[in-house]
Symmetry: C2
Subunit: 145 residues, 2 copies
Protein backbone atom coordinates (compact mmCIF):
# COMPACT_ATOMS: atom_id res chain seq x y z
CA UNK A 1 0.00 0.00 0.00
CA UNK A 2 1.91 2.96 -1.26
CA UNK A 3 0.04 5.97 0.03
CA UNK A 4 2.62 8.69 -0.40
CA UNK A 5 4.77 9.53 -3.41
CA UNK A 6 8.54 9.55 -3.02
CA UNK A 7 8.29 13.32 -2.96
CA UNK A 8 6.21 13.23 0.21
CA UNK A 9 8.24 10.45 1.78
CA UNK A 10 11.45 12.37 1.30
CA UNK A 11 9.88 15.68 2.25
CA UNK A 12 8.49 14.33 5.51
CA UNK A 13 11.72 12.61 6.40
CA UNK A 14 13.66 15.79 5.78
CA UNK A 15 11.28 17.87 7.87
CA UNK A 16 11.43 15.39 10.74
CA UNK A 17 15.20 15.47 10.49
CA UNK A 18 15.12 19.26 10.67
CA UNK A 19 12.87 19.18 13.73
CA UNK A 20 15.42 17.01 15.49
CA UNK A 21 18.28 19.34 14.60
CA UNK A 22 16.68 22.71 15.06
CA UNK A 23 17.96 23.18 18.64
CA UNK A 24 21.61 23.08 17.60
CA UNK A 25 21.31 24.51 14.12
CA UNK A 26 18.76 26.79 12.52
CA UNK A 27 19.70 26.52 8.87
CA UNK A 28 20.22 22.96 7.75
CA UNK A 29 22.52 22.25 4.85
CA UNK A 30 20.68 20.33 2.14
CA UNK A 31 23.76 18.48 0.92
CA UNK A 32 24.50 17.19 4.40
CA UNK A 33 20.89 16.29 5.00
CA UNK A 34 20.69 14.41 1.70
CA UNK A 35 23.74 12.38 2.70
CA UNK A 36 22.51 11.63 6.20
CA UNK A 37 19.10 10.57 4.93
CA UNK A 38 20.44 8.88 1.80
CA UNK A 39 18.25 10.87 -0.53
CA UNK A 40 19.31 12.24 -3.91
CA UNK A 41 20.58 15.75 -3.33
CA UNK A 42 18.99 17.30 -6.40
CA UNK A 43 15.68 15.61 -5.81
CA UNK A 44 15.58 16.68 -2.18
CA UNK A 45 16.57 20.21 -3.13
CA UNK A 46 13.59 20.44 -5.45
CA UNK A 47 11.19 19.18 -2.82
CA UNK A 48 12.45 21.65 -0.24
CA UNK A 49 12.25 24.42 -2.83
CA UNK A 50 8.52 23.75 -3.08
CA UNK A 51 8.14 24.01 0.66
CA UNK A 52 10.17 27.21 0.65
CA UNK A 53 8.08 28.76 -2.12
CA UNK A 54 4.95 27.80 -0.19
CA UNK A 55 6.26 29.68 2.83
CA UNK A 56 6.72 26.74 5.15
CA UNK A 57 10.51 26.98 4.99
CA UNK A 58 12.96 29.75 4.33
CA UNK A 59 16.32 29.31 2.64
CA UNK A 60 19.74 30.90 2.50
CA UNK A 61 22.32 30.51 -0.25
CA UNK A 62 26.07 30.49 -0.11
CA UNK A 63 28.45 28.90 2.37
CA UNK A 64 26.76 27.74 5.56
CA UNK A 65 23.43 28.22 3.81
CA UNK A 66 20.52 25.84 3.94
CA UNK A 67 16.87 25.69 4.83
CA UNK A 68 15.11 26.54 8.08
CA UNK A 69 11.56 26.59 9.34
CA UNK A 70 9.71 29.77 8.45
CA UNK A 71 6.76 28.56 10.51
CA UNK A 72 7.31 26.83 13.83
CA UNK A 73 6.90 23.07 13.49
CA UNK A 74 4.51 23.33 16.46
CA UNK A 75 2.18 25.04 14.03
CA UNK A 76 2.64 22.71 11.09
CA UNK A 77 0.25 19.80 10.82
CA UNK A 78 1.16 16.67 8.92
CA UNK A 79 -1.79 17.34 6.67
CA UNK A 80 -0.25 20.71 5.72
CA UNK A 81 2.87 19.00 4.44
CA UNK A 82 0.89 16.39 2.56
CA UNK A 83 -1.44 18.93 1.02
CA UNK A 84 1.56 20.88 -0.26
CA UNK A 85 3.43 17.88 -1.64
CA UNK A 86 0.53 15.72 -2.85
CA UNK A 87 -2.07 18.30 -3.76
CA UNK A 88 -5.33 19.42 -2.22
CA UNK A 89 -7.35 16.49 -3.51
CA UNK A 90 -5.29 13.96 -1.61
CA UNK A 91 -8.12 12.90 0.69
CA UNK A 92 -10.84 13.22 -1.91
CA UNK A 93 -10.04 10.40 -4.25
CA UNK A 94 -12.22 7.36 -4.91
CA UNK A 95 -10.74 3.98 -4.00
CA UNK A 96 -11.73 2.59 -7.38
CA UNK A 97 -10.40 5.65 -9.19
CA UNK A 98 -13.82 6.59 -10.58
CA UNK A 99 -13.81 10.27 -11.50
CA UNK A 100 -17.55 10.70 -11.04
CA UNK A 101 -17.71 9.04 -7.62
CA UNK A 102 -19.23 11.21 -4.89
CA UNK A 103 -22.29 11.56 -2.71
CA UNK A 104 -24.52 11.85 -5.75
CA UNK A 105 -23.20 8.84 -7.61
CA UNK A 106 -21.27 6.79 -5.08
CA UNK A 107 -19.26 3.78 -6.15
CA UNK A 108 -19.78 0.55 -4.19
CA UNK A 109 -16.75 1.36 -2.06
CA UNK A 110 -17.74 4.94 -1.34
CA UNK A 111 -19.05 4.72 2.23
CA UNK A 112 -16.63 1.97 3.16
CA UNK A 113 -13.69 3.99 1.96
CA UNK A 114 -14.99 7.28 3.31
CA UNK A 115 -14.82 5.98 6.85
CA UNK A 116 -11.24 4.79 6.58
CA UNK A 117 -10.17 7.96 4.84
CA UNK A 118 -11.85 10.05 7.52
CA UNK A 119 -9.92 8.31 10.26
CA UNK A 120 -6.70 8.85 8.41
CA UNK A 121 -7.38 12.51 7.79
CA UNK A 122 -8.35 12.95 11.42
CA UNK A 123 -4.91 11.69 12.45
CA UNK A 124 -3.07 13.84 9.95
CA UNK A 125 -5.07 16.86 11.04
CA UNK A 126 -4.34 16.43 14.72
CA UNK A 127 -0.62 15.73 14.65
CA UNK A 128 2.03 18.41 14.36
CA UNK A 129 5.45 18.04 12.84
CA UNK A 130 6.94 18.93 16.21
CA UNK A 131 5.05 16.14 17.99
CA UNK A 132 6.15 13.63 15.42
CA UNK A 133 9.68 14.96 15.40
CA UNK A 134 10.16 14.92 19.17
CA UNK A 135 9.69 11.18 19.21
CA UNK A 136 12.70 10.89 16.95
CA UNK A 137 14.78 12.44 19.69
CA UNK A 138 13.22 10.80 22.75
CA UNK A 139 13.30 7.24 21.52
CA UNK A 140 15.64 5.62 19.07
CA UNK A 141 13.30 5.93 16.14
CA UNK A 142 15.05 5.88 12.81
CA UNK A 143 14.72 8.16 9.81
CA UNK A 144 17.27 6.32 7.72
CA UNK A 145 17.11 2.97 5.91
Amino acid sequence: MKVLSKTSEYGLRALLFMVGKRQEQEYINIREMSEQLDISFHFLTKILQNLTQAGMLTSYRGPSGGVAFNVSPDNILLIDVIRLLEGDDFFEKCLLGLPGCGEKAPCPMHRFWGEIRGALRQEFESTTLAQMGESVLKSRLRLVP
Copy 2:
Protein backbone atom coordinates in the same frame (compact mmCIF):
# COMPACT_ATOMS: atom_id res chain seq x y z
CA MET B 1 -4.24 9.35 -1.98
CA LYS B 2 -3.81 6.66 -4.54
CA VAL B 3 -3.92 3.42 -2.60
CA LEU B 4 -4.55 0.92 -5.36
CA SER B 5 -2.84 0.49 -8.71
CA LYS B 6 -4.94 0.67 -11.86
CA THR B 7 -4.64 -3.09 -12.00
CA SER B 8 -6.49 -3.45 -8.69
CA GLU B 9 -8.97 -0.70 -9.50
CA TYR B 10 -9.93 -2.39 -12.75
CA GLY B 11 -9.86 -5.87 -11.24
CA LEU B 12 -12.17 -4.91 -8.39
CA ARG B 13 -14.57 -3.08 -10.67
CA ALA B 14 -14.74 -6.08 -12.97
CA LEU B 15 -15.35 -8.49 -10.10
CA LEU B 16 -18.10 -6.28 -8.67
CA PHE B 17 -19.64 -6.12 -12.12
CA MET B 18 -19.55 -9.91 -12.32
CA VAL B 19 -21.20 -10.25 -8.92
CA GLY B 20 -24.05 -8.10 -10.16
CA LYS B 21 -24.49 -10.17 -13.31
CA ARG B 22 -23.97 -13.66 -12.01
CA GLN B 23 -27.67 -14.39 -11.51
CA GLU B 24 -28.48 -13.99 -15.18
CA GLN B 25 -25.17 -15.07 -16.66
CA GLU B 26 -22.46 -17.35 -15.36
CA TYR B 27 -19.68 -16.66 -17.85
CA ILE B 28 -19.13 -12.99 -18.49
CA ASN B 29 -17.66 -11.91 -21.80
CA ILE B 30 -14.51 -9.87 -21.25
CA ARG B 31 -14.98 -7.75 -24.36
CA GLU B 32 -18.48 -6.74 -23.31
CA MET B 33 -17.38 -6.09 -19.74
CA SER B 34 -14.47 -3.93 -20.93
CA GLU B 35 -16.89 -1.83 -22.96
CA GLN B 36 -19.45 -1.49 -20.19
CA LEU B 37 -16.81 -0.50 -17.66
CA ASP B 38 -14.77 1.56 -20.13
CA ILE B 39 -11.57 -0.33 -19.45
CA SER B 40 -9.02 -1.32 -22.10
CA PHE B 41 -9.90 -4.81 -23.28
CA HIS B 42 -6.35 -6.13 -23.42
CA PHE B 43 -5.42 -4.71 -20.07
CA LEU B 44 -8.52 -6.11 -18.40
CA THR B 45 -7.94 -9.48 -20.04
CA LYS B 46 -4.50 -9.67 -18.48
CA ILE B 47 -5.79 -8.77 -15.03
CA LEU B 48 -8.50 -11.40 -15.21
CA GLN B 49 -5.96 -13.92 -16.47
CA ASN B 50 -4.06 -13.47 -13.25
CA LEU B 51 -7.17 -14.09 -11.21
CA THR B 52 -7.92 -17.16 -13.32
CA GLN B 53 -4.42 -18.56 -12.88
CA ALA B 54 -4.73 -17.98 -9.16
CA GLY B 55 -7.90 -20.07 -9.09
CA MET B 56 -10.33 -17.33 -8.15
CA LEU B 57 -11.94 -17.32 -11.60
CA THR B 58 -12.35 -19.88 -14.32
CA SER B 59 -12.44 -19.10 -18.03
CA TYR B 60 -13.84 -20.48 -21.23
CA ARG B 61 -12.67 -19.68 -24.74
CA GLY B 62 -14.60 -19.46 -27.98
CA PRO B 63 -17.99 -17.95 -28.78
CA SER B 64 -20.05 -17.14 -25.69
CA GLY B 65 -16.92 -17.70 -23.62
CA GLY B 66 -15.75 -15.52 -20.79
CA VAL B 67 -14.82 -15.66 -17.14
CA ALA B 68 -16.85 -16.90 -14.17
CA PHE B 69 -16.29 -17.29 -10.47
CA ASN B 70 -14.48 -20.47 -9.57
CA VAL B 71 -15.00 -19.65 -5.88
CA SER B 72 -18.29 -18.21 -4.70
CA PRO B 73 -18.01 -14.46 -4.12
CA ASP B 74 -19.49 -15.15 -0.69
CA ASN B 75 -16.18 -16.75 0.10
CA ILE B 76 -13.92 -14.12 -1.45
CA LEU B 77 -12.74 -11.34 0.83
CA LEU B 78 -11.66 -8.00 -0.54
CA ILE B 79 -8.27 -8.64 0.96
CA ASP B 80 -7.95 -11.79 -1.16
CA VAL B 81 -8.37 -9.78 -4.34
CA ILE B 82 -5.94 -7.13 -3.20
CA ARG B 83 -3.36 -9.65 -2.10
CA LEU B 84 -3.50 -11.28 -5.53
CA LEU B 85 -3.31 -8.04 -7.51
CA GLU B 86 -1.01 -5.96 -5.29
CA GLY B 87 1.13 -8.60 -3.65
CA ASP B 88 1.32 -10.08 -0.17
CA ASP B 89 3.20 -7.18 1.35
CA PHE B 90 0.43 -4.71 0.63
CA PHE B 91 -0.34 -4.02 4.29
CA GLU B 92 3.23 -4.26 5.50
CA LYS B 93 4.75 -1.17 4.00
CA CYS B 94 6.16 1.79 5.92
CA LEU B 95 4.48 5.14 5.36
CA LEU B 96 7.85 6.80 4.84
CA GLY B 97 9.03 4.01 2.56
CA LEU B 98 11.88 3.03 4.86
CA PRO B 99 12.94 -0.54 4.05
CA GLY B 100 14.28 -1.23 7.54
CA CYS B 101 11.22 0.06 9.39
CA GLY B 102 9.66 -2.45 11.76
CA GLU B 103 9.16 -3.20 15.44
CA LYS B 104 12.90 -3.32 16.00
CA ALA B 105 13.76 -0.07 14.25
CA PRO B 106 10.48 1.84 13.92
CA CYS B 107 10.32 5.06 11.95
CA PRO B 108 8.62 8.04 13.62
CA MET B 109 5.39 7.19 11.82
CA HIS B 110 5.43 3.52 12.68
CA ARG B 111 2.86 3.29 15.47
CA PHE B 112 0.75 6.09 14.05
CA TRP B 113 0.57 4.37 10.70
CA GLY B 114 0.18 0.90 12.14
CA GLU B 115 -3.13 1.85 13.72
CA ILE B 116 -4.60 3.27 10.55
CA ARG B 117 -3.36 0.36 8.51
CA GLY B 118 -4.83 -2.08 10.99
CA ALA B 119 -8.26 -0.51 10.72
CA LEU B 120 -8.06 -0.67 6.96
CA ARG B 121 -6.96 -4.28 6.92
CA GLN B 122 -9.72 -5.15 9.38
CA GLU B 123 -12.27 -3.77 6.93
CA PHE B 124 -10.78 -5.55 3.95
CA GLU B 125 -10.64 -8.78 5.91
CA SER B 126 -14.26 -8.69 7.00
CA THR B 127 -15.97 -7.73 3.76
CA THR B 128 -16.79 -10.21 1.02
CA LEU B 129 -17.04 -9.49 -2.67
CA ALA B 130 -20.66 -10.60 -2.53
CA GLN B 131 -21.51 -8.11 0.24
CA MET B 132 -19.88 -5.30 -1.67
CA GLY B 133 -21.43 -6.42 -4.92
CA GLU B 134 -24.98 -6.71 -3.63
CA SER B 135 -25.01 -3.03 -2.83
CA VAL B 136 -24.47 -2.35 -6.50
CA LEU B 137 -27.78 -4.06 -7.22
CA LYS B 138 -29.82 -2.82 -4.26
CA SER B 139 -28.98 0.85 -4.55
CA ARG B 140 -28.03 2.80 -7.62
CA LEU B 141 -24.34 2.67 -6.93
CA ARG B 142 -22.19 3.14 -9.98
CA LEU B 143 -19.22 1.19 -11.28
CA VAL B 144 -18.67 3.35 -14.31
CA PRO B 145 -17.22 6.83 -14.68
